[in-house]
């Protein structure tokens, strides 16, 4: 049996599939259910300092190649999330806490509390493409990415991994800024800023008008971004964007990712997607006579 285990900045994963932030991760029960269904780790909903209802519906638009969403960062707030994190952690899940806020201090404070709950790592949502005034525009300024990362790093002992936006002209600069800020890993990519219009109604469908595109349509963009980041920095990369199959995951891994995150595919393949993708990766390794998945990280770089 091929070895599909992997490691991201010291966080050991039994397989390279992680639940992407924003999916089935607002409550402890579902986080644990996803982990038990086969995910190597689960990333929480982005948690902020206060409870937040998010935007009105419609918050998603289903498309052929994926999905638009504009949830608006709904979350129960860092205080109430404590009992949810406890359920997942007590159940044995490997949990990465995703955080957002309006400034470096808020990010750091939320991350510190999450780390105190016992999460194994911190993901920084620096790149939500549709929530105004919540520090998410910092994804557009490399120096801000460095500053926010450094602020969180100063407060927590667990690995910190900023999630980068693809809505920039050169994502490698942002990965470099994250590394300069002390990031232990980077996550790429967040959704692409996008819109869908109902022609008969002459209006955007999402209540927030703008949303983020995810799913298979963005996979080639994500793979390209991970490839570019791998050329630019030394820290491990977590690849995300349109992974539905083992082959999709292997594209990211060969571009340079040590692990992948899966979200939108939950809608098409259900909760078994984590176990299925892992099995598909294992079958590929066996067929190619590769003993360890880790040997393929960055393999496409020649």
């Amino acid at each position: 049996m091929a070895d599909v285990s992997t490691e991201v900045a010291g966080i050991k994963l039994r397989n390279p599939t992680m639940l992407a932030s924003g999916f089935l991760d607002e409550t402890g029960g579902t986080l644990l259910r996803v982990f038990k269904a086969g995910a190597g780790a689960v990333v929480t909903k982005s948690i902020g300092p206060e409870p937040r209802a998010g935007y009105d519906n419609p918050t998603i638009v289903e498309l052929e190649g994926g999905m638009l969403n504009s949830m608006g960062l709904p979350n129960p707030g860092i205080e109430a999330f404590g009992s949810e994190a406890k359920i997942a952690l007590d159940g044995g899940a490997v949990v990465v806490g995703s955080v957002f806020g309006k400034d470096p201090d808020e990010y750091a404070a939320v991350a510190k509390t999450l780390a105190g709950y016992g999460v194994h790592g911190i993901e920084l949502n620096l790149s939500c493409p549709h929530a105004k005034g919540l520090g998410t525009e910092i994804a557009q300024i490399p120096e801000a990415v460095r500053e926010f990362t450094a602020a969180v790093k100063a407060k927590v002992g667990v690995p910190v991994m900023p999630k980068l936006s693809p809505n920039v002209s050169n994502i490698a600069d942002f990965a470099q800024a994250a590394e300069d800020g002390g990031a232990d890993a980077v996550v790429a990519i967040n959704t692409l800023r996008a819109m869908a219009i109902a022609p008969e109604l002459r209006m955007p469908i999402l209540a927030n008008k703008y949303g983020g595109l995810s799913g298979p349509a963005i996979r080639p963009v994500g793979v390209r971004c991970v490839y570019e980041i791998h050329e630019a920095v030394d820290v491990p990369i977590v690849g995300v964007g349109g992974v539905e199959t083992g082959r999709d995951a292997l594209e990211y891994i060969m571009a340079g990712a040590s692990a992948v995150q899966i979200g939108t595919a939950l809608a098409t393949r259900g909760l078994s997607v984590f176990a299925d993708v892992t099995a598909e990766i294992a079958a590929f390794l066996e067929a190619q006579k590769v003993k360890h998945l880790a040997d393929l990280v960055g393999a496409a770089h020649g």
Partner: protein, 258 residues
């Protein structure tokens, strides 16, 4: 995935005060107990049970919040968005079936009632509302079997709540399946009674919903997703639930008492 379809309303039927049925055509099917996400443009998108299946589908809506109140003003030709169908279905098992519907819960249960009847089951329905003039789909339930009416104020039928009448009916007849939809306290009482009597049961639940497709985690009941694992849950599942009849999630995901 279920793509959003923009559909003109074909017909509007005022059922009772504050509750109307909207008929529309869509390219997708729907089975008894399934729901659709209905976009009321510029207002909201809300989950609605299919009260009519087949080519000319229907939703039966009670004016409850801002969006559903706005929908009450919609006329034939006005456009809504629909996507679906979503969720599981009522299992059409049982030869002697009792359906218990409270208030607008009949909107979820009427298609299953008709499907049970068409599948050859002997169907009895407890149809309950606050008052006589809030009873919905009386004719359709009668066409599918025996009907026992209940009103909170006694203005028609049994004077009292649906679970009390359901218990009486269950004392008088043997049933091998009970299906319920209505206020959660009502469903809890019905499910508890069925568990006590050892009668299999299923109930269609409601929670605040966003995506409808099992990804966003807004509609959780314990670790189940009402939109994808439900909305229909069995008595066995509900007996294990810590949330059923007690807790729901607010829009931010906080667990709060019902």
């Amino acid at each position: 995935m279920g793509r959003l379809e923009i559909a003109p309303i074909v017909e509007v039927v005022r059922e009772v005060h504050h509750t109307s049925t909207f008929r529309f055509r869509a390219s997708f099917d729907g089975k008894p107990g399934q729901f659709v996400m209905v976009w009321i443009p510029g207002r909201d998108e809300v989950p609605m049970a299919l009260s009519y299946l087949g080519e000319l589908k229907g939703i039966t809506v009670r004016a409850y919040g801002e969006a559903t109140k706005a929908l009450m003003g919609f006329k034939p030709g006005d456009l809504i968005g629909v996507r679906g169908p979503y969720g599981n279905t009522f299992r059409l098992e049982g030869k002697r079936v009792l359906c218990v519907a409270g208030g607008v819960g009949i909107a979820s249960l009427i298609a299953p009632i008709e499907a049970f009847h068409e599948a050859g089951a002997e169907v009895s329905t407890v149809l309950a509302a606050r008052t006589a003039d809030e009873l919905i789909f009386e004719e359709r339930t009668e066409a599918a079997g025996e009907v026992h009416l209940a009103t909170d104020d006694g203005s028609r039928g049994f004077h009292g709540f649906a679970p009390a009448l359901a218990k009486k009916v269950m004392d008088a007849h043997r049933f091998d399946m009970v299906a319920a939809c209505g206020p959660e306290a009502m469903m809890k009482a019905v499910v508890d009674h069925c568990r006590t009597k050892g009668v299999p049961c299923q109930a269609s639940l409601e929670r605040f919903m966003k995506c409808g497709i099992g990804i966003c985690d807004a509609c959780v009941l314990d670790d189940w997703l009402v939109c994808r694992d439900g909305p229909v849950f069995t008595g066995e599942q509900l007996a294990e639930s810590h949330d059923f009849g007690k807790f729901r999630r607010d829009e931010s995901g906080r667990r709060i008492p019902l």
